[in-house]
Every structure is written in structure tokens, then in C-alpha cells.
């Protein structure tokens, strides 16, 4: 290297460094623990703290934002689950209120430690009718998905990092009556993409007096701008209105479909949609050698698809395997006010086999705890507000919607 000002400068810098008592670290800095040990510790921390720890140093900011770390954190966050509720305040407020509680609030009956958020989507113009029904579509990897029944605006929300995202609206069919939208939200691991699926069903006129049932299916990939139309399912029938959302189970979306054109009656089947290869399958619980089609609701427990039929809850232990349907439990008879049939929706099953159930009876949200070991059922005293929606259990994650 030729002598000159460059060397002089570096000499000066070196001398300065000797005199300074600051140890200037280049990145990555030298921690006392190796990187892989640090990562193992960090991935076990709650999301809120991790967001703060991005300010520890540049290298940590990079580490904690890295998608591999975020996936690792997701795998570890199974102990941090919360129970989420949704409601919509119509005119003049026009906003969603999202509230969440720690999962064990159903035991402790405490309304403390709740978090509440308000959200007004960009597309809101205050024109939603009062009777708009809002509900959670589902949750996946820490992201909650909800939509309204009027415009079909789908919103994604990660409460752990407090990020919302409005999806683009899809086009609805022109001339039709009795229009329904049924959604599903899930993850395609083969492409690392999140997908929202909507099943549309409606009647179109073929003459002045004859109307025919039509169904359409559209898929939206998160990060894109479009809803892509795909061939509809070939089995006929309409999604059951009371089960307004698709249940995501290991790469598939599942809806309860009724052969009754109004969507209420039996027989029913489960429409399974594979998110990876976008193909359909008809699933019928196979119990005691017979296909069961008296299905009342479907849900997900312990990452397995479950169905309720009357007071029985069955679970498909191995997805797609007809022989793997097992009866999980039978909910003991409960006296209800008007003695009508009570629709039971299983919400969540704890490690000790206790199950949170929601009872749908005259629009009240009644949450109950069923203990399969002692075969006891008790209503919780956990009634924060009269929520009409089925709550959603969601884990923590750093994934941005």
C-alpha cells in the first residue's frame, strides 16, 4: 500500500481506539453465548418482548425479523394461546371490537387481563346494515381472519404484533337471490402461502318462475391482489349456514355441506378442499361400519377434524383415513330454556382433556367446560359481554398478515 493520507488516517483511528474505553463492536457483535444458544432462548420468549428486543442491537433486529426465526418461534408458542371474541358496532361507530382473554379465563372466570382493539377497515363507508353478521373465519399460525356477511370484506389480524390487513373485495354475482358466502382461511406449506377461500352459493333465474342453485369457489393468496375463480365442488349441496367458516386441518379446508337446497337439512357431508393441489374430496365420518350423515357441526380439536352429531363428538385422528374416526365423548344432556335442540360447537381441548364448548341456543353465547374424565359439564361464569360469535382460540406468532 502506498504511503499517504490513507495510512495516516488509519493510524490516527487506531490510536484513538487505544485511548478510548469503548469497545466498538462490528456486527455481528461477540456475545457471551453462541448464536444457536441465543436463538434457542429467544424463540421461547413472548412476541411482545421480542418486538422490544429488536432494539437491542442491529444484529438482533435482523435475527428477530428473519422468517426462519419467526417460524421457529411459532413452533414454540403453543403454550401461549388466547381466546378471541369479535363484535361489530354499527352506526355511528362502524367499527369492529376485538377482545381477547387468556385461555384459562374459562376456569378462573376473570375478566381481567383482557386486551381490546378497535378497527375500522378502509373500505368502511358507514353503509353496513345493522343486521350484518360478523364472525371469525378461523385462525392459522397466529393470524385471525374475520369477514362480514354483507360486503364480504375479509380482514386478517395478528394480535401478537398488532397488525391488520384488509383483503381486496371479490366480485359478487349479478342477478341472484339468496346469496351466501362461506369462507375458509389456511396455510399452504408447499408454497409457504396463506390462502383465503370463499364458497358462494345463490339462486339464479332460468325463467320467470324457475330458479337454479349455483355455487362458485374463489381463492385468494395473501400478498396478491386477486381472487381467482376455480372449478366448484362436484358433489352438490350448499354449505350449512350455521357453520359459516371452513375449518383448517393440516393443509385442508373443510366445510359442512347439506344436500338440502336450503342448507339446513340432512343428509350432510364434509367438503374437504386440499390447499396444496386445490382438489376436492367428500368426507363422511365412518362409524360402526356406516357413513354418518346426520352431522350438526364441524370443528377442530387437537389439530384434528371433529364433528358433532347430536350430543356426540367424533374425531378423525388421521386426516383422510376413514377408519380413524373415534368417538371423543358424549356431552351430557343439558337443560336449556326452551328445550330446543342445542347445537354444540367444540372450541378447544386442553392437555388434561377438558374441552371448551359453545352452546348455541337463542343467540346467547354460553361457554361450558366439559371434563371427559369425570364426565361433568359446567357452564362457566365467564360472561364478559353478550358476544354472538363463536370465539376463536389463537396462538402467538410474529407473522405479518
Amino acid at each position: 500500500m502506498a504511503p499517504g493520507s490513507k495510512i495516516d488516517d488509519s493510524e490516527i483511528t487506531a490510536t484513538n481506539n487505544l485511548f478510548s474505553d469503548v469497545v466498538t463492536l462490528t456486527s455481528p457483535p461477540l456475545p457471551t453465548l453462541p448464536v444457536d444458544v441465543i436463538l434457542e432462548i429467544l424463540c421461547r420468549l413472548p412476541a411482545k418482548l421480542l418486538l422490544q428486543l429488536r432494539s437491542v442491537c442491529k444484529w438482533w433486529n435482523f435475527l428477530i425479523s428473519d422468517s426462519k426465526f419467526i417460524k421457529k418461534h411459532l413452533r414454540m408458542s403453543t403454550t401461549r394461546r388466547r381466546l378471541h371474541f369479535l363484535r361489530y358496532l354499527s352506526r355511528p361507530q362502524n367499527k369492529y371490537i376485538l377482545t381477547s382473554y387468556p385461555l384459562d379465563s374459562v376456569f378462573t372466570n376473570l375478566n381481567t387481563d383482557l386486551t381490546e382493539f378497535e378497527y375500522s377497515p378502509n373500505n368502511f363507508k358507514g353503509d353496513y346494515p345493522r343486521t350484518t353478521f360478523e364472525h371469525f373465519i378461523g385462525s392459522c399460525n397466529g393470524i385471525l381472519c374475520f369477514a362480514d356477511h354483507y360486503k364480504g370484506l375479509v380482514i386478517l389480524w395478528n394480535p401478537s404484533i398488532r397488525k391488520f390487513k384488509d383483503l381486496p373485495l371479490f366480485t359478487k354475482p349479478d342477478v341472484c337471490i339468496d346469496f351466501h358466502m362461506t369462507f375458509g382461511f389456511g396455510y399452504d406449506s408447499s408454497t409457504d402461502q396463506y390462502k383465503v377461500v370463499v364458497v358462494l352459493d345463490y339462486l339464479v333465474p332460468v325463467s320467470t318462475t324457475i330458479w337454479v342453485l349455483e355455487t362458485e369457489v374463489k381463492v385468494h393468496i395473501l400478498g396478491t391482489n386477486i381472487w381467482r375463480s376455480i372449478p366448484t365442488y362436484p358433489f352438490g349441496g350448499v354449505p350449512v349456514p350455521s357453520a359459516l367458516s371452513g375449518k383448517y386441518v393440516s393443509g385442508t379446508m373443510n366445510w359442512l355441506v347439506s344436500k338440502d337446497p336450503l342448507g339446513w337439512g340432512k343428509p350432510c357431508y364434509i367438503l374437504s378442499f386440499d390447499l396444496v393441489n386445490e382438489s376436492y374430496q367428500m368426507i363422511l365420518p365412518h362409524i360402526d361400519g356406516e357413513d354418518m350423515c346426520d352431522l350438526w357441526s364441524i370443528g377442530v380439536l387437537r389439530d384434528c377434524l371433529c364433528v358433532t352429531s347430536g350430543n356426540d363428538v367424533w374425531i378423525m385422528e388421521e386426516y383422510g383415513n376413514k377408519e380413524s374416526w373415534t368417538k371423543l365423548f358424549t356431552v351430557p344432556y343439558m337443560r336449556v330454556r326452551d328445550n330446543s335442540h342445542v347445537l354444540i360447537t367444540p372450541i378447544y381441548m386442553f392437555d388434561d382433556d377438558q374441552v371448551i364448548l359453545k352452546f348455541n341456543s337463542d343467540n346467547d353465547l354460553d361457554l361450558a367446560l366439559y371434563d371427559s374424565k369425570s364426565d361433568t359439564l359446567k357452564l362457566t361464569d365467564f360472561h364478559p359481554i353478550d358476544y354472538q360469535t363463536i370465539p376463536e382460540v389463537c396462538i402467538e406468532s410474529l407473522i405479518s398478515p
Partner: protein, 161 residues
């Protein structure tokens, strides 16, 4: 394949103590296992660097509890932060999966309700953000720095200490 006439393996810690441990325990130390398997002849004694006798005592405690199905009773509460870090490094060196998970979880539990300053000190990391960059990062997720469950930030040390 090295084989021993007895079922005990001798491990020599950094401070010169020799521990005779059951083969099954040695098997949980992947580092040790690799040494045994690579040796052509019988190994008489395996030196384990970075591991001291007080580490081995705890490792043996953990092993005895987990064999009895009581691994949940193992506690590192009595260790201070530096001792815990030290132990974690030893277990990391020995490549013992289960105990490593237990210890990283123990560290995470200790850090869960702490502040950024505390964590920085714990890991011995210097803040290399400029004041403007730092303010920008904090502003991005402002809400995360607030709340009852957050310990108050210790006096922000400037970068020159």
C-alpha cells in the same frame, strides 16, 4: 467400536475430577458419544473440556430425576444468572438435547418480564444503533414498550460506558 468391560464411562472434567457415569447417561451426551464411537480402541477416560465438576453434579441430578420420571422436579432456581449461563454452555458443549431445552427454557423464563436494558446486559451486547435509529425502531412498535407487565427501563446507558 469401543467397548468397555464395565458399564461405566469415565469422564474427566476441566478441574481434574473424574466421574464414573453409567453408559446410558453418557449416551445422552452426543459429544461424548461421538468420541466413543470414533475411537478405534477402548477409551480409558474421556476429557470433557468446558465442563466443571459442579456442572457434572447437576447433570447427574437431572439424569437421576429423569430416569425416575421426575424430570419436572429439576430446578436451577438456586443458580444466579451467570451460573445458569455457564451451566447452559457446558450442556451445550456436551450436546445434551433434553437438558439443553430445560435450561434454555429456564433462561427464557427469567427474561420474560424483563426490560430491553436488562436483556442487553444479560447477553453482554452493546447497543450499536445511533440515537435516531434507536428512536425509530422503538417508535415502530411503540405499544410493545408500554404496559403493566413491563419492568421500567433502567437508566439508558449511552453507548460509551
Amino acid at each position: 467400536m469401543a467397548s468397555s468391560s464395565s458399564n461405566l464411562i469415565s469422564l474427566k472434567t476441566s478441574d481434574g475430577t473424574v466421574f464414573k457415569v453409567e453408559r446410558a447417561l453418557a449416551k445422552t451426551m452426543k459429544t461424548v458419544q461421538a468420541i466413543i464411537e470414533e475411537a478405534d480402541a477402548n477409551i480409558y477416560m474421556i476429557p470433557i473440556h468446558n465442563v466443571f465438576s459442579h456442572h457434572m453434579d447437576m447433570i447427574i441430578d437431572y439424569y437421576k430425576l429423569s430416569v425416575a420420571g421426575k424430570s419436572k422436579e429439576f430446578s436451577v432456581e438456586k443458580l444466579d444468572n451467570d451460573e445458569l449461563k455457564d451451566f447452559l454452555l457446558a450442556v451445550h458443549y456436551l450436546n445434551m438435547e433434553d437438558l439443553f431445552e430445560v435450561l434454555t427454557q429456564a433462561v427464557a423464563d427469567r427474561l420474560e418480564k424483563k426490560s430491553v436494558g436488562y436483556v442487553r446486559k444479560y447477553f453482554g451486547i452493546e447497543n450499536d444503533f445511533t440515537p435516531e435509529e434507536y428512536a425509530a425502531i422503538r417508535k415502530k412498535n411503540d405499544w410493545a414498550f408500554k404496559g403493566d407487565d413491563i419492568e421500567p427501563e433502567e437508566d439508558e446507558e449511552k453507548q460509551e460506558e
